[in-house]
């Protein structure tokens, strides 16, 4: 795969991290991506798109998209990583390169709220019918809060905080506070 990376570096502005002998990741810019993927598909035998997925890099205010391609003849995989702005989450569609990319893009639209203008059916429901919250795979989505709000608790459920249960250890457990504190 080293020679492939060398060749890519001559034409594109990419950084590379090798994970295994048959698996490399390269970081590319969003603008370069369609050209880079087309090149990989048409000139480097990476004809198969295995998956397209996203990671919410909320600390950097970015989404990271990973396009995983395979060269079936050599069994080598290459992952192309792209960072896009999280606030204005729009990415060029690659549905014209691989028809099934539309499904991944439709999923990312629903789960992360990333738009792929022009991708067929990108705004159709994927699995979340009637979803009104922020996209659930965004890290600022509070799964627990949603779960508690949406699903009724089964009757008879109750819980005890360990700290409360521990009071049984000391019969003289003092009631606090003795003074009027200002702790919030």
């Amino acid at each position: 795969m080293n020679s492939l990376i060398k060749r890519l570096k001559m034409q594109f502005d990419v950084e590379e991290q090798t994970q295994r002998s048959n698996l490399s990741f390269i970081n590319a810019t969003a603008l370069q991506l369609p050209a880079l993927l087309t090149h990989l598909r048409d000139y480097e035998k990476y004809t198969q798109l295995i998956f397209l997925t996203a990671v919410d890099r909320i600390e950097d205010n970015q989404f990271q998209l990973t396009y995983m391609l395979a060269d079936e003849s050599s069994q080598n995989n290459i992952g192309v990583r792209v960072r896009i702005d999280r606030e204005n989450a729009v990415m060029t569609s690659i549905a014209h390169l691989w028809h099934h990319a539309r499904t991944y893009q439709q999923e990312l639209r629903e789960m992360f709220g990333i738009d792929f203008p022009g991708s067929p059916g990108v705004n159709d429901n994927f699995i979340l019918e009637g979803w009104e919250e922020i996209p659930p795979m965004r890290r600022d989505f509070d799964t627990r809060e949603y779960s508690e709000k949406t699903y009724f608790p089964r009757p008879g459920r109750s819980t005890t905080h360990p700290r409360t249960a521990m009071k049984a250890v000391d019969p003289d457990y003092p009631e606090l506070p003795l003074m009027k504190g200002r702790v919030k």
Binding site: R144, R163, D170, D172, L176, L178, R182, V183
Partner: protein
């Protein structure tokens, strides 16, 4: 559509009498893969009911409930997770976060029942076919959501340490403290174990969120001597910390110290100062050690006029006069006392009750009196020759150093005892330039001293001879010669400490310049007047009180070492708090009766 299309579906009828091609067996017994995430297993005896599984569960599928046969103990909440499989999404986060690694998942995933209620159960408590399988999801080797190692503390150890009385433990920086605070899972198992029941998870959270003013107030809610306890506390909380099951317990004591390190006295006072309504009632406290100061602090906050009488020149008790500066610097002790004093406590030092001021007068002038005089008279060895001029007590030696007197110990020192005082004396003698050897009658693991003190002392070159019992002391041209005997540990039956017994003929001699004795202390109750002696009761050497410190003489309360047998600072502080509560309850009731 042709005729064929119409009749073709009926071709399959010709197979109606044949055996099916499908094999039912693999469909009914198809085991999950080895690391499949199926129904949970929980090792009930390993689990401590910390509730981390409940906290992390994103589906609110886990409740912590009491289970028959599992008792709440000092290190176990007695609760166990009960899982609602109607909500569980089998993500396995509960297994990943489990502090004791008791919770795992079996690879069993098929279970059909018409009653939905059976899908809510306590793994490990209820009989299930998958309880004993070793297949299923376990946390992978090397993968842990919890940080198992505590943040290292910078220390001056060994040869550098003994060059001076500078503090050995440096304290955490902000980055270190925040990283260490991140490790806490906020289970609160430690709160009950701490004698003062400090709000440990809350102040650790406050560190994490950098709300240090809140953290300070949380400390003072239950403990007005946080700088002391941040340094020399016996930290029983850490022995039950959930993180300790798979790694180092959270450095609770050092985190406490980090908070108070950020508050020099003036800053702490500004933060804690409040208006208090004077209720006109007076309380006298005898002894300005941890118990007395703690009681004084809380009584003042309740509106009482409190005067603390101390026979030494400065307040602090055994913390000031028994703990050397390299563990508890003098200026830190001064700050600690200043904060308490500025809250409105009147401190009268250099006054010994029974000598300079009579107990009867305190009784007459005050609405209540608290005795918190501690254990400060050293026990004698009770062996021949111990009144040699070069045999001194550890307590007196530490006291002299704290009072700025020069102490000469010579080049070779023997310390007798295995408690913190023995180690403090030994390490102080090292700092005075002597070769030091500790003689202890039992084994290292039997020593009452903190393990940190033992390790630090060894790192500083203190030698330890265990199972050694001094039998007599002779004079050797002005220096003491200690004759000691080796001992063997004799089993005393189950549940009892083995006893050291002298080995016949295994006698040895040690020529030294000074012998320091530190085999424990007793209290001196001479200040209690005879007129009251019948009305204050004793359990052996300790004052008998009811649970809030009240003695049989209802106006007199007692707290600290003279009451509790734990004998550490934090227990004394907790005692002071309880006594303040007791005095308040007593005086409030009395006021109501008038």
């Amino acid at each position: 559509m042709g005729l064929k299309d119409i009749i073709s579906p009926f071709y399959v009828w010709k197979r109606a009498l044949e055996k099916p091609f499908t094999h039912p067996s693999p469909l009914t017994t198809r085991p999950g893969s080895d690391r499949y995430r199926g129904f949970h297993q929980n090792d009930m005896h390993k689990c401590i009911g910390c509730g981390s599984c409940e906290t992390i569960c994103q589906n609110a599928a886990i409740d912590l409930v009491h289970v028959d046969g599992i008792e709440t103990t000092e290190a176990d909440s007695g609760l166990r997770p009960k899982i609602d499989y109607g909500r569980c999404c089998w993500c396995g986060l509960c297994v990943d976060i489990c502090t004791t690694a008791s919770l795992t998942m079996s690879n069993e995933y098929t279970w059909v029942d018409a009653d939905p209620e059976v899908y809510r159960f306590i793994p490990g408590a209820d009989e299930k076919s998958w309880n004993d399988t070793d297949k299923g999801y376990r946390r992978a080797e090397g993968y842990n959501l919890l940080e198992t190692e505590r943040v290292d503390m910078d220390m001056t150890l060994g040869d550098d340490g003994i060059k001076s009385f500078m503090e050995v433990i440096h304290g955490y920086t902000k980055e270190q403290a925040m990283a260490e605070a991140m490790r806490c899972v906020e289970c609160g198992v430690c709160v009950a174990t701490c004698p003062a029941h400090m709000d440990i998870p809350d102040y650790i959270k406050a560190i994490r969120e950098d709300r240090l003013e809140d953290a300070l107030e949380l400390l003072y809610r239950t403990n007005p001597m946080p700088a002391t306890c941040g340094r020399i506390c016996t930290h029983r909380c850490e022995t039950v910390c959930a993180l300790g099951h798979q790694g180092d317990p959270v450095a609770i004591r050092w985190l406490k110290r980090y908070i108070i390190d950020q508050f020099p006295a003036e800053k702490a006072i500004a933060q804690l100062e409040q208006e208090f309504e004077d209720n006109g009632l007076k309380v006298a406290i005898i002894g300005a050690g941890p118990a007395g100061l703690s009681a004084a602090y809380y009584l003042v906050r309740l509106g009482y006029n409190v005067t603390v009488y101390e026979s030494q020149n400065k307040a602090g008790g055994m913390i000031r006069y028994g703990v050397p500066y390299y563990r508890m610097p003098e200026d830190i002790m001064d700050d600690e006392v200043t904060v308490i004093e500025k809250m409105g406590v009147i401190l009268k030092t250099g006054i010994k009750i029974g000598r300079d001021l009579l107990f009867e007068k305190l009784m007459h002038d005050n609405n209540a009196v608290l005795m918190a005089t501690g254990f400060e008279s050293p026990y004698e060895l009770s062996i021949p020759g111990e009144h040699h001029s070069r045999v001194i007590s550890g307590i007196d030696m530490l006291d002299d150093i704290a009072n700025g007197k020069s102490v000469e110990v010579g080049n070779v020192v023997a310390v007798i005892g295995g408690g913190n005082v023995a180690f403090d004396a030994a390490r102080t003698a090292r700092r005075l330039g002597a070769d030091v050897c500790i003689y202890y009658r039992r084994r290292i693991e039997d020593m009452p001293a903190d393990s940190e003190e033992i390790h630090e002392a060894q790192a500083e070159g203190v030698k330890i001879i265990v199972q050694s019992i001094p039998v007599h002391i002779e004079d050797n041209n002005g220096s003491p010669r200690m004759i000691w005997n080796r001992a063997e540990m004799v089993d005393q039956g189950p549940g009892k400490r083995p006893k050291p017994v002298l080995i016949q003929g295994a006698s040895e001699t040690a020529d030294v310049d000074t012998i320091i004795t530190a085999i424990g202390q007793a209290s001196d109750y001479d200040y209690i007047p005879e007129s009251m002696s019948g009305r204050i009761h004793f359990n052996k050497t300790r004052v008998a009180t009811e649970r809030l410190g009240q003695t049989a003489e209802t106006k007199v309360f007692a707290a600290g070492d003279i009451v509790n047998s734990r004998g550490d600072a934090i227990s004394a502080i907790a005692d002071g708090y309880r006594a303040a509560k007791g005095i308040d309850a007593y005086l409030t009731t009395k006021k109501g009766e008038k």
